[in-house]
Subunit: 332 residues, 2 copies
């Protein structure tokens, strides 16, 4: 049923190589030949089989897009930007959902079976083992939203989560909160670990300020709400740095339900600045994560990596401004 190279060759009365060459740019074909072949191809509705050609060229133009955060609203933008950016450059995203997968091996095997040219791991919670497993399998890999390190083992694009933690702490201190807390995401998420570490390190310089911390079970509305309900019962702090925006919104809903008011009684600062954070009914003060830059940069890095797979691992880190909205009181 599908029309192949051979069909076109026969119809045009030329060799198969000739047809192949008119469809690969940079090959030597005369204009006469090209016209003949294109005519035949058009008449037959031929388009070359990308997979078959990948066999000899060794490139599929397939890029594995691996994540485990499918339910976090931040990923709307991430997926939109990745899919658009990749296909604008002639690459195709092959999606892998890791939601309940712990072993990198399976994904590595699967993506190698489909001989992807490269893999983008998009997750702030996966340990770097995941990305390294791909690297070790010889597949170019970029870890977007990955853990920052001064001597990265794989290519990383994202933010410095420790710095973000420090920034959150500074922001709360500036606003004269004296009893503050970290409400983290799951403790195994590298982003939570780093944000926590940064938060604490900044506060080490302020011994007068009371600091506490706890962790929610997931980066989700329900987990944030539940943890905040618990904290409210036990006696809440004056302000919280929440692990991310969804968590913050869960916390906000708990606060409202318990008869407290934000920011009058309790302040909240989130992280991500996802679309919903600016919705007036939410209006969350938060640290902006430059999604677009991160995605664009990841794609560019991937492109460079496809050209030169042995590039030395590199960390591309973008800075995060605080976005002032309505869940923190004004600076002193």
């Amino acid at each position: 049923m599908p029309v192949t190279l051979k069909d076109v060759a026969e119809r045009a009365g030329v060799s198969r190589s000739a047809v192949s060459r008119t469809f690969t740019d940079g090959a030597s074909v005369s204009t006469t030949m090209r016209r003949k072949v294109e005519k035949a191809a058009r008449e037959l509705g031929y388009s070359p089989n990308a997979l078959a050609s990948s066999l000899t060229t060794g490139r599929t133009k397939l890029i594995g897009l691996v994540s485990n955060n499918f339910l976090n609203p931040i990923f709307l933008q991430v997926f939109d930007l990745f899919t658009r950016g990749l296909q604008d450059r002639g690459l195709r995203p092959l999606l892998v959902n890791l939601s309940n997968e712990t072993d990198p091996e399976n994904s590595v095997r699967m993506l190698r079976q489909y001989s992807v040219d490269g893999v983008v791991v998009a997750s702030s919670t996966l340990p770097s083992d995941f990305a390294m497993a791909f690297r070790d399998a010889g597949v170019p890999v970029v870890h977007a939203f990955g853990r920052y390190s001064s001597s990265p083992k794989v290519h990383v694009v994202g933010i410095d989560n420790r710095e973000a933690g420090r920034l959150a702490a500074r922001t709360l201190v500036e606003r004269d909160y004296r009893d503050i807390a970290f409400l983290g995401g799951p403790e195994i998420a590298t982003s939570t670990q780093d944000r926590f570490a940064g938060f604490m390190s900044e506060l080490a310089a302020h011994p007068k300020i009371r600091v506490s911390h706890s962790f929610a079970l997931a980066y989700s509305f329900d987990a944030g709400r539940q943890e905040m309900l618990r904290l409210l019962k036990a006696g809440p702090a004056q302000a919280y740095f929440c692990g991310d925006d969804v968590l913050s919104i869960g916390a906000l809903s708990a606060i409202a339900d318990s008869g407290y008011s934000c920011p009058a009684d309790i302040g909240i600062i989130g992280l991500n600045d996802m679309e919903m954070a600016r919705w007036e009914n939410i209006n969350l003060t938060t640290i902006h994560q430059p999604i677009e830059q991160i995605v664009t940069s990841s794609i560019e890095l991937m492109l460079a990596l496809l050209k030169d797979p042995d590039r030395h691992p590199e960390a591309r880190i973008y800075s995060c401004p605080v976005v002032e909205r309505g869940t923190l009181r004004a600076p002193a």
Copy 2:
């Protein structure tokens, strides 16, 4: 670098066919042989090249997942469920973002180049031409969230948007609203057209009720907010059926900002029941779209279609209950 069938065959001292057979189930291999081959394969770290095999078998297990709604929060669940569901069945989603694509031909060509086994179009706004273009190219296709028809031209899974429009109208009437309106999504979206038609047809039976309508430019927060601001200035109705949840939330924010209150002054009912609708700070009364059923059913239908591509087109329609929350006053 990558290890192939031949390498394994040589190491195990057997023919290439033998190796191939131990990796395709249903083939005749003795236990001795299988063990030998598996040992060699393990030692070499071999895993078969899915794309190469697709050349002869004619199946890639690749499924094109095509959409243009990447920024609508409802798609978090849609993508999560699709990717999980497909990969649980050994299929791989190849993502296509149609956001600024109007011509089906490009996508058809591209997906044929990658010889996908089937295509799922997931969109409530695309006209059915899109799905039909795939069908015409001989690719099994399911249109999830597509337009309902009693004699569908392609396989459709979703809701009956006209019925949803009628349900919305009934719900508003029951609550004794006498001046009501439809605030639709983009007028070219089939879902908006159908919801509008249903809404109006139900109200035809209530000549006493005042009805008006207008359309936002997109299914988005900003479009909803902007259109509602305009309506508020011109003199609003008592209650609105909004095209979908994001639109509703934009409208809510406009209402709050203009000093009105919901549901005291103006009632809102949305459609979709996306995750955020239940967030307490939003608490949107809405019509529930059974995402999980739709996705699961689409996948099952696709599986059936892969077995029997000539199956007669079928529409699978699921019903939508109203979810009572806080943006509509109580029934009379």
